[in-house]
Symmetry: C2
DNA sequence: AGACTATACGAACGATCGTGCTAACTTGTC
DNA sequence: GACAAGTTAGCACGATCGTTCGTATAGTCT
């Protein structure tokens, strides 16, 4: 009964290809949309055959799900993780908001924040992809709320503030800054978002 | 030298069909996207043949441009025009913001505000469609700024406020309310937008 | 009434979509 | 070095994409 498993799931070159595909997919999705992105176009974009690329994912939906995961990892690495060392909650909150706007401005994704695009596109398209995007959005919002509460506990944010409401408003500035910047290619919108944050906090 | 023009005439039933097409197109575009919307799907949705529908527009791009125009007319009729009778600028501004949120909640478009979707989708897709969306967004923002200035002149908004900055923040609440409502199907996000507006004004 | 033409349809076009199948090549393990 | 499994490419499929064309219908005008 002791079925010894082969235990050799992935190969190093395969994992490297997978990452290449998903990075490009996340980037292209902010321009063409997560649904508008086609397998053929993606394959051509990274110099790979359509079927070779497809073999990594059983379906387009699985590719989309993996792309959302990858985008989440990029957002975490670019925005969230660099602030984790900051002990003071209010300082960390400010750094987090500023890093988000910098990550938009720096053009980590060609079409601005991946999740801003994805939320607008999959807002009412039921399915696992929307579920994953929803979850990511809630996690982000929960992080903002958590930091507000910690800052309140530390006395650096007014204790009378409703953390949920404050997080909503701060997130709104980020979203509007991203949308304005992408649509008009004008950093002024990001600066307005920064000004709004300074005013509000 | 007097080249007599063909004098393009239109027929009443044609104009009616055109309106039917464009209303459906504007609605479907908030779900499938302005690019993701296909001629075939749109035709089937209104019980018309693909070629019959296509005869109204020379290309998909022209259909998209006309759809943006139609969506603008709907937004104007649902949100802007009903507030034009309000003489007091601050009252009108408040009514405008509230009507926007109500129009999102009422589901005038299945996928929330048409322009919120369109901005995210066409943010960096150069072309006449993006130009038109850009112009619509700027007109909307300019209207907000104009009302803020009028309210300042009337003494009902703090004269020290920067109208551009205040309009940005108010618009941000609307956008975040729309996105949150559509993504989570939760009116609470619209209520948070209302609370943010009350607090800010 | 008849003539004119905007409107609508059916069929078909080449291109591309997502998706399988099969065979070759690479890599890791014994 | 051999064997097994992961990786990639070639080819083809049915469906659908935007678009074109010829033709039948039906509203409008004299």
């Amino acid at each position: 009964m002791a079925a010894t498993r082969p235990e050799r799931r992935t190969r190093s070159d395969g994992e490297r290809s997978r990452q290449t595909i998903l990075r490009a997919a996340a980037n292209l999705a902010t321009v063409d949309g997560l649904e508008g992105l086609s397998i053929g176009n993606l394959a051509a974009h990274i110099g790979m055959s359509k079927s070779g690329l497809y073999a990594h994912f059983g379906s387009k939906e699985e590719l989309q799900l993996a792309t959302v995961d990858t985008a989440g990892q990029i957002l975490a690495a670019e925005v969230i993780e660099p602030t984790e060392a900051i002990a003071d909650p209010r300082e960390r909150l400010e750094a987090l908001l500023d890093r988000f706007l910098a990550y938009v401005e720096r053009g980590v994704f060609q079409g601005g924040c991946f999740f801003a695009s994805a939320e607008a596109e999959f807002g009412n398209r039921p399915g696992p992809v929307r579920d994953k995007i929803r979850a990511a959005q809630q996690d982000w919002r929960a992080l903002l709320e958590h930091l507000v509460r910690e800052a309140q506990a530390a006395g650096s944010v007014d204790a009378a503030e409703d953390p949920v409401q404050l997080a909503f408003e701060l997130d709104a500035y980020l979203l509007m800054g991203n949308t304005g910047f992408v649509l008009h290619d004008e950093p002024a919108y990001l600066e307005q978002a920064r000004a709004a944050i300074r005013r509000r906090l």
